[in-house]
């Protein structure tokens, strides 16, 4: 009886599982680590369609063949396999609950120290006029400025900005990849559509003192130090002489878009 019910209803059941996962992730901010903000809306639309299909399916006309298929052993086995494969990713993501890529994957993908195509950085003009980036005032008064990894790469690319930021003390947050106790790359992941196309961007940090082993294992660090630029085959890349390295919370959006 249960088997028969399952054979006739596995499709709406699968629609329901995937649809609810989409809706749960959209409203529970689960999509933050999977999709770029604009793509989350497309995923939401897909989730709604899947749930609607699950609800409507029992009212759609079934056919004689579907009814007779219920009695075939071969069909039973095939249906269980199909359902198992379709539902496995749903269960896996609820069980594993990934929150970010590990350092190994960042290393596997290779860190870029230059602006990537499609990267949305602020313009030179905005950098000095936007209230959130009032660097001109901060820099002249010697105050500390918090800058994103992508904006640092943008600054390194612009001769005028390079000159203004040279040797200034700044604060940056990112995921570290350590090569030694006092030298590491501070990175952020940049995505276009989804986490599968994420590419790490970052730069080198040299700490004045050795970073404690406990901090080296942390996923997110806040680095404070003097910003410098190095010339590297026809371009400049930023690097930081760090005076302070401390653990910090992951930002709300772990990717750059």
């Amino acid at each position: 009886m249960v088997k028969r019910w399952f054979i006739l209803n596995w499709i709406p059941l699968a629609f329901c599982c995937w649809g609810l996962l989409h809706l749960l992730f959209f409203w529970g901010k689960g999509f933050t680590i999977y999709l770029s903000p604009w793509f989350r809306w497309i995923a939401l639309a897909a989730g709604i369609v899947l749930v609607l299909l699950a609800l409507l399916w029992p009212f759609l006309p079934t056919n004689d063949c579907e009814e007779t298929e219920c009695h075939s052993h071969h069909h039973h086995r095939k249906t269980f396999w199909q359902f198992g494969i379709i539902i496995f990713p749903v269960l896996l993501c609820l069980w594993v609950r990934p929150s970010e890529f590990s350092v190994t994957t960042l290393q596997n993908r290779g860190v870029s120290s230059e602006l990537l195509p499609g990267m949305d950085t602020i313009s030179t003009e905005e950098l000095f006029t936007e209230p959130n980036f009032d660097f001109a005032e901060d820099l002249s008064s010697g105050q500390l400025s918090e800058i994103s990894v992508s904006d640092l790469l943008f600054i390194a690319d612009d001769p005028e900005l390079r000159e203004k930021f040279q040797s200034k003390t700044i604060k940056v947050v990112g995921q570290p990849i350590f090569s030694s106790a006092s030298r590491f790359q501070l990175t952020r992941l940049f995505i276009m559509c989804c986490a599968a196309d994420a590419r790490p961007v970052g730069f080198w940090v040299e700490s004045e003192s050795e970073v404690p082993v406990s901090l080296q294992k942390k996923n997110w660090l806040e680095v404070e130090g003097k910003l410098e630029f190095k010339s590297e085959t026809n371009r400049f890349v930023p690097w930081i002489q760090a005076s302070q390295v401390k653990e910090t919370q992951a930002p709300e959006e772990i990717f750059l878009y």
């Binding site: 680590i33 759609l60 006309p61 199909q82 990713p89 993501c93 994957t105 596997n108 195509p117 196309d197």
Partner: protein, 310 residues
């Protein structure tokens, strides 16, 4: 750094993101397929589809401009079009061209390469994709259908089951039957999509990209390396240009190989092609497209080397 290091956390993240990205397009593809089944009469295709094979293939290569489908959703539409009488050669031309010959891929390529090289890369990608698709179409037109399609590839249990309802032909009944058909097809394709995406996610997270870096020193190894990379990464044709553009150590012609070969052949697509095509045909198709892509990129490299892109 080891060449291969697997992490379940990273694999899950990459796999699920590929699925979340692809499912909306898979839904769209199967929905269109269901609607084609119910609303496109076979006699319409017989009457309006070009009779001359060469002209029909040329037209099919451009169908993506009217009915753009990304590679995730193309298989259900393809099967339905063949069932409605579209010749196999034309359907395969459409399948190969559609993910490249459409406005979205063209614009994203232009944006990814920016400035003066953007339009060159976008036009080159579109032209190469179109040329390869129609060349494949002309070759396929000379092969018997039995050597291409699996015996029951066009048999559709769920559509056939509705034949006894054919007396109910109001648009509402057709819509309901179309949705039913789409739902079954979605589940069928989703299985292949899930398995293919899992393979892509392993490569995406576990393989160290430094392994392919030594390939950049020579045009042939760089081009073949990026074609293999595209086949393993299974990126969407609307966003792959952004990845290709960031591979700055590779020559531009190799970038084109990545952008043209990837949307036509990748592990996920090969698994989905298995629904329709015979294994032998898929092997020949893969080899033919790989050789064709390489030759076009080699030619492009010769025409443009020392020119505006280097």
């Amino acid at each position: 750094m080891p060449a291969f290091s697997f992490s379940l956390n990273d694999f899950t993240l990459s796999w699920l993101s590929l699925l979340f990205e692809g499912i909306p397009f898979l839904l769209l593809g199967t929905f269109i397929s269901g609607m084609v089944e119910e609303f496109l009469p076979k006699r319409f295709v017989e009457k309006w589809f070009p009779k001359r094979t060469w002209f029909a293939i040329l037209v099919s290569g451009n169908l993506g401009l009217i009915l753009p489908m990304c590679e995730c959703g193309i298989i259900p539409v393809l099967r339905r079009l063949m069932k409605k009488g579209v010749p196999v050669a034309c359907a395969i031309t459409y399948m190969l061209a559609s993910p490249i010959v459409n406005g979205i891929s063209f614009l994203s390529t232009m944006l990814a390469y920016q400035l003066e090289t953007g339009w060159v890369m976008a036009v080159s990608r579109l032209a190469m994709g179109y040329l390869l698709a129609i060349a494949t179409g002309f070759v396929v037109a000379r092969i018997s259908k039995d050597n291409i399609l699996k015996p029951l590839a066009l048999e559709d249990n769920h559509a056939q089951h509705h034949h006894h309802h054919e007396e109910k032909n109001s648009w509402r009944h057709k819509l309901v039957r179309g949705i039913h058909c789409s739902g079954h097809e979605f589940m069928e394709v989703l299985i292949y999509f899930i398995v293919g995406s899992a393979l892509a996610a392993v490569f995406n997270t576990a393989v160290n990209r430094e392994v392919i870096e030594p390939l950049t020193s020579h045009f042939t190894s760089a081009t073949l390396g990026l074609m293999l990379g595209a086949a393993l990464l299974c990126l969407c044709s609307t966003s792959d240009a952004f990845i290709a553009a960031s591979l700055t150590s590779f020559p531009s012609a190799s970038h084109l190989a990545f952008l043209v070969f990837g949307p036509m052949i990748d592990v996920r697509l090969i698994l989905m092609y298995r629904m329709l095509f015979k294994r032998k045909f898929i092997v020949w198709l893969t080899l033919g497209l790989a050789i064709g892509t390489y030759l076009l990129c080699w030619l492009w490299n010769h025409v443009f080397s020392g020119g505006m892109l280097w």
